[in-house]
Structure formats: structure tokens, C-alpha cells
Amino acid sequence: MSTIARKKGVGAVLWDYLTTVDHKKIAHLYLIAGGFFFLLGGLEALFIRIQLAKPNSDFLVGGLYNEVLTMHGTTMIFLAAMPLLFAFMNAVVPIQIGARDVAFPFLNALGFWLFFFGGLFLNCSWFLGGAPDAGWTSYASLALDSKAHHGVDFYTLGLQISGFGTLIAGINFLVTIINMRAPGMTFMRMPMFTWATFVASALILFAFPPLTVALIFLMMDRLFGGNFFNPAAGGNTIIWEHLFWVFGHPEVYILILPAFGIFSEIFATFSRKRLFGYSSMVFATVLIAFFGFMVWAHHMFTVGMGPIANAIFAVATMAIAVPTGIKIFNWLFTMWGGSIQFTTPMYYAVAFIPSFVMGGVTGVMLASAAADYQYHDSYFVVAHFHYVIVGGVVFALLAGTHYWWPKMFGRMLNETLGKITFWLFFIGFHLTFFIQHFLGLTGMPRRVFTYLPNQGWETGNLISTVGAFFMAAATVILLINIVITTAKGEKAAGDAWGDGRTLEWAVSSPPPVYNFAQTPLVRGLDALWVEKMEGKKELTPAEPLGDIHMPNPSFLPFVMSFGLFIAAFGFTYHQETAWGLPVGIIGLLITFGAMFLRSIIDDHGFHIHKEEVLEFEKKEANA
């Protein structure tokens, strides 16, 4: 029986995905789930914009608006942007470093399912009384005050569960990159996207524990009578703000660094040039991450920390502009002297530069503490972060989707539709968010569900809403593109764009389960490019062809995550129902039981035999 290629029925495919530990399939799962949540978050954004299109509108009033707003921010950051980045990390990083899989395939699956069930739990709130409504930052005093329904409990427990998943994914990538690099793949030969993944994972490792702790506190206060944030009993709400932003600021770099990584790959590929200033790019990435931990309080300038703290954090924040600038100029000079091919991914990469710089420089304006007293909690901030997030992260996700789609699924996306998507999205993006700078400057606070007429905000808001619909149209066309090309798209070659430089383009599209029949020997930066320039078609192998060891699939990751999902319901309702506590305990028992099973059942994986590999490779070569 061949373990590599088999035709299967729907049920078998489903079971395959539920139990898979293959990083490429987990990438598919992340892409699908993250994509779904992006549509959800986008839909919520549309609702926001519809409500704000005109003054005094009553489409989403009061508490309901706050729920949509909170869920938009939370969904986009935790359930869309990060998982989509994980999708590309999973699909690409192991192959880029010449590995057969990640370090912990089982944990990789566990990470995904935790994220998925956490997100599912969070969104169950819509049907169970109401979603969280205290903003994605869930500041403690309001989060404790809004006890009319369980919204905020869904936030604390849902994010807790998906947060564990993220932490696991982070550790997994760190170990993969440190331990599993192919021979010759030194740190300073790693592709930029791998570097970005590495650094972002380190950020995850240090940034998520404070969030975990903050969420524990909030859960204790809301569900178990704790007093962390209750001033009457000696508590202090500012603790939440600090813990949240100690996590929250690195979080935005967790999002943007991989985005930078994606663009670095694209710039090099479509300029046919190696990345300009590679080592300073690496250095800048590390520096951004390092600074990222010293600046969190720039979100709290108006809290009243005093001028000394404000001044320190202001200056530290500004410093981040320097390494980021280094990157911007290195990208420009990667293109300089290159032979630029304007494919869809390159469109996004090129558009990213002015868009992101605009967002970045408004960030530096925000860092000017005394001036931030004006900007803070106004639409100027909304404009800033959508410029960096949409102009940076979302552009990168769209670019990555077009760039790696052929690698992940074996078919090219349609370029014409891709470019239409780009233009609609690009125009819509600037239309939506540029004007918001001025809304903020003319006094419009953020997180308002409505505004009164005659304050000078009508036109701006209307334009902004129109822009959002452009982005929606773009998204719809992307979906159409996917459907059409999946049905009858052009088959992608291994080196789908013809100019691939890194190892993922050396294997077939989609890659075989084992990635490399023989682990390659890496002989320089841009390993594939090096070989191509020497006129070779294939990589230099570092080992003889032999049996390949593969990890076993397992259903346990799903069960463990499902247990926490059940437990979360129990604890949410344990105060007012009799079944709450038992259900909570049963859920935990399911999880710990599955962990126990994992611990006592040996898992040695299996081998794909040399002959099978050979057979498969031959088929690929002929195809």
C-alpha cells in the first residue's frame, strides 16, 4: 500500500485533516480557518462602517455596536491575522530550511486545534446572550462592569485557549528553526521569512505569558470572586492595562515581522536580486523585536503615569523607526538595479511600501507623548493602526496568498483577477483610512457607535464607508478567483514563478509528504538560486536516498482542545447553574485524559520506504 498518494472519499479526507500532523495540511487548516475568521471580521467591519456612514444612524445601537467592534478587533488580530501568518509559516518554513516537518508535528496539530476551538468558543457568544463588548483591549473596569451577559467571559476563556495554541506554535517554530535546518543552512543563510518567523516566535514566547496571566486575573475577578481589579478591595485596574500592553505591543510586531518576511521574499524573487543588506535586515528584525518589549506604555500616555515614564516610553518608541527605516530602504534598494516583474504578489509588495510608511510615520507622531494626549483614543489612532495592519499585514497576507498558493495547492491563481482584487483593495484601503486621520484630528473619538450631526464629520465618515465596500468587493473577487482556479486552474510547476530563490521552489507543487526525497545540502543564501546559477536543475543532496521517517497522525490534539472547549462552557456558567462546575471538570478530564493517553501510548512514527519515494519522484518528474 502506498502511503503517499491515494484517492480518498470525503469522509476519509475529513478524517485525514482532523488527525493530520503534516505541516502542509496544518497550513491548509490554518488558511481555511483564518480565512473564515477574516471574512467574519471583515463583515463586522462592514457593519461598523454601515452604522457610521451617517450621523445618528440606528443600525447598530449602543451595546450591540460595542459587541461588533470588540469582536472585529479581537477576531482580526487573534483569529485572522495571526493564524493566516501561521498558515504560511507552516506551509513554507520547514521547506525553506530543508526539513521534512516541524520539530513537533503532534504539537503543531494541537496548536491549530486550540486556536480553532478558542475562536469557536469566542464566537459562540453571539448565540448565547451577547458577545464581549469591552473593546479588544477589554480594560478591566469596564470588563468587570459589563456583567449583564457573559460576553467578557467568552473573551477571557476563548483567548486563553487560543493563546495556548499560539504559544505552542511559537515554541514549535523556534525549535524547528534551531534544530532542523538542513546541512549548510547556517543562521545567516536562512531566508528572511524564516528569520522573521524565528523572531516573531520568540516574541510570542515572551509576550503571550503576560496575556495568559492578565486573562487569568480577569477570569478570577469575573467568575471566582477575585479582587485584582476591584479598587474597593485594594485592586488596581492599571495592572490590567500594563499586562495587556506588555503583550499587546509585541503582538503588533508578531504580526508585522512575518509580513516583512513575506515581502522580503517577494521583493527578491520578482526583482531577480538577492535581498539588499541581508545581514542588516536580520539585525533590524532582531532590534525591532528587542525594542518591542520596552515601549508598551506608549498606549498608556494619558493614563497618568507621570512625565518621566511618558518621556522614557516616548523616546524608546521613536527609536523603533530606525530599524524599520533600514528595512524600508533595503527593500527599495533590492529593487534598485533589479529586473522587476509586476506579478500580483509584487503589486502588493510595491504598494506596501508607501502605505506602510504612511502608517509607520503616524506611529512616530503618536509616540510624541505630549501630542498623543490629543491623538489618543481618536480616529487618528484608528487610521494609524489600519495603515500599518492593513497596509502591512493584510497586504502581506494577500501577497502571500497569491505567491504561495501554487506551492500549497498546485494551481496558479488567475493573475487578471488577482490584479483586479489588488486595485479594488488598494483604492478601498486608502479611501477608508486616509480620511480617518482628519476625523481624529478634528475631534472624533474612536469606539463611538454614533455621532451627532454638525460636528464636521459627515463627509469623512461617508467616504470611509464607501472605501470599505471596495475592500469587500476585492475580497469577493479573491474568493471567486479561488473557486475558479481550483476548478480549472493552470497547474503550477515546482518553481511556480520561474524566479524562485529559496528551497520551497525546489520541490514539486504541492510538495510530497516528505518534502525532500533527500535532505539538500545548502551552499549559500538563496539555496535554489545558487544551484540555478550554476546551471543545475536540482539541489545537491546531503544524504543518500533512504527510508524516510514520518510522524503518525493522531486524533488526540482535537480531543484535547475539545475538552478545553467543553470546560470553558462549564466555567462560564458555573455561578448560576448547577451543571456548570461538573461540565467544567468533565472538560478538563477529557483534556488531561487525552494528555495521559499521549503520554503512555508510544508514538514512533512510520517509515516511507525508499522504493515508494523513488516511484513517487519518478511520477512527479513525468507529470
Binding site: L174, I178, A202, L205, F206, P210, N236, I238, I239, H242, V246, F293, M294, A297, M305, G306, A309
Partner: protein, 110 residues
């Protein structure tokens, strides 16, 4: 401390390794004795009423720091080869810890 040898002769290797392990174990026992001692001193310093807070608190914190270093470097072998990344990330964690503690004891007020 390199613990890997290759004399080619397994018996000799084994003896060498055993000796190495025993020697290391001895160091660890010494570390343990010191740790107990440090703990005793810390408890005694607190129990002894004469010392002022200003002395005792930094002093016992210092003792704790030394003890933790013993744990990490002797018991957990962080000085051994192959522990570069563990050390890097532990120090990273410690750095974040220092920043956090600094912030929580200065910019949260009542």
C-alpha cells in the same frame, strides 16, 4: 564541560564517563549544601530582628539570585555545551521579568 569522548574503546569511554558523572555529581552535592546554607542564612536574616528592612530585603534577594544560579547552572547544566539557546532564552525571560518588575513597582500607583 565536554562529556563526549571517543577513544574508540567502549569500556574506557564508559569508565571515563562514569568518572566524569561522579565528579559532576559531587559538584552538585556541594551546590546543594550551599543552597541549603543560603536558605538558612536567608531565614535567619529575617528571623533576626535587629537588621533593618533596607538591609534584609536586598540581602535575601541576592541570596535567592545566587541560589537560582546554582539551580540553573549546576542542577540544570545550563553551562554545558548545547545550552546556548536555552541560556539565551532564559536570559530573555529574565530581562522581560526585570522590566516588568521595574514597571510594576514604579508606574502603578494608588
Amino acid at each position: 564541560m565536554a562529556n563526549q569522548t571517543n577513544s574508540g574503546n567502549e569500556r574506557i569511554d564508559l569508565m571515563y564517563r562514569r568518572r566524569k558523572n561522579a565528579e559532576e555529581m559531587r559538584h552538585q552535592v556541594i551546590a546543594f549544601v550551599l543552597m541549603i546554607l543560603l536558605t538558612l542564612i536567608a531565614f535567619a536574616a529575617v528571623g533576626y530582628e535587629e537588621f533593618s528592612h533596607w538591609f534584609v530585603i536586598p540581602f535575601i534577594l541576592l541570596l535567592a539570585g545566587v541560589q537560582v544560579a546554582f539551580q540553573l547552572y549546576y542542577f540544570m547544566h545550563m553551562s554545558h555545551k548545547g545550552h546556548e539557546f536555552p541560556a539565551l532564552f532564559m536570559y530573555g525571560g529574565v530581562l522581560v521579568m526585570l522590566v516588568l518588575v521595574w514597571a510594576f513597582s514604579t508606574v502603578i500607583w494608588w
